[in-house]
Symmetry: C2
Subunit: 140 residues, 2 copies
DNA sequence: ATTATTAATTGTAATGAATACAAAAATGGA
DNA sequence: TCCATTTTTGTATTCATTACAATTAATAAT
């Protein structure tokens, strides 16, 4: 049988990435928590199970994953980076009230890799800021 | 006759903003330098003419302008904010080689204020990362 | 299995953009 | 001029992120 961790391990090996314990745990966290967490949130969660883990390892691992194009890094809040294991092109919405970053599946013609005006596109980022549906309802 | 500064002053007054010397100089810099400068770049330039100016004043003024919807703040590099006095909706391109942020005038259907999926949109941000046309040519 | 080599992880110090805050200066009205 | 309010300044602080050397773990060679 294939446990969740076995599958993650296979996925990393297929990309030529050594499936170390920390890498597996960070990736597992990102796959399970698709709410664009901060590095600190990931650290805070993992340190409960791995008391020896360091913040530096979390940062190292996240940057490493980004280099290997396994995750996206979102600079939206202006305060801290947010991490996203969903690498399929999609837009985001940052709510100024509750602070959530919500996925938006809008089909935008310009939102694909390739070339634009002669520039080679490697990363795509589209996001909106405002007040989310829930916060509008509750009149927070 | 209307000097450039007189026009900037009138623009601020029309928006109910006191046209102080520093505000006029910061705005003048942004209007003249439409290359999305950092706060530090603005400070470095202004301090040559206004030796007593402080970094804090530059930051205060820029944030104040943003609150008054006079400028946009771009969080693209992940290192530092970039400021844009062009508030008409437009996309950006960040070159990973030369570091420039280039304006892109692409007409995107989703790039307008209003509501999307029930969320109220206040700010629009669309940008791409990659290698710019010039850097591709020079094979930097 | 033991050793050597390489890679990953850790802990601490440092960086640097941005903010907090209180004092000083400037502004505008009475 | 006097007073109240706003703006600007200088300094200290915050805090996310990185730098870096030491330690540990994993892999390859003997
Ligand atoms: Mn997402
Ligand atoms: Mn622009
Ligand atoms: Zn919300
Ligand atoms: Zn370039």
């Amino acid at each position: 049988m294939n446990t969740k961790m076995e599958l993650l391990k296979k996925g990393l090996l297929k990309k030529g990435i050594r499936p170390t314990y920390i890498r597996l745990k960070v990736l597992d966290y990102l796959e399970t928590n698709r709410n664009h967490p901060t590095a600190e949130a990931i650290y805070k969660s993992l340190v409960k199970e791995i008391p020896t883990i360091s913040r530096t390892s979390v940062y190292n691992t996240l940057n490493f994953f980004h280099e290997k194009e396994l995750i996206n890094i979102l600079f939206i809040t202006g305060i801290e980076a947010r991490f996203d294991s969903n690498i399929s092109p999609h837009h985001h919405f940052l709510c100024g009230k509750c602070g959530r970053i919500i996925d938006l599946d809008i089909e935008c013609n310009y939102f694909k890799k390739g070339n634009i005006r002669g520039h080679r596109i490697i990363e795509l980022h589209g996001y909106f800021k405002g007040i989310c549906k829930d916060c509008l309802k509750e009149g927070k």
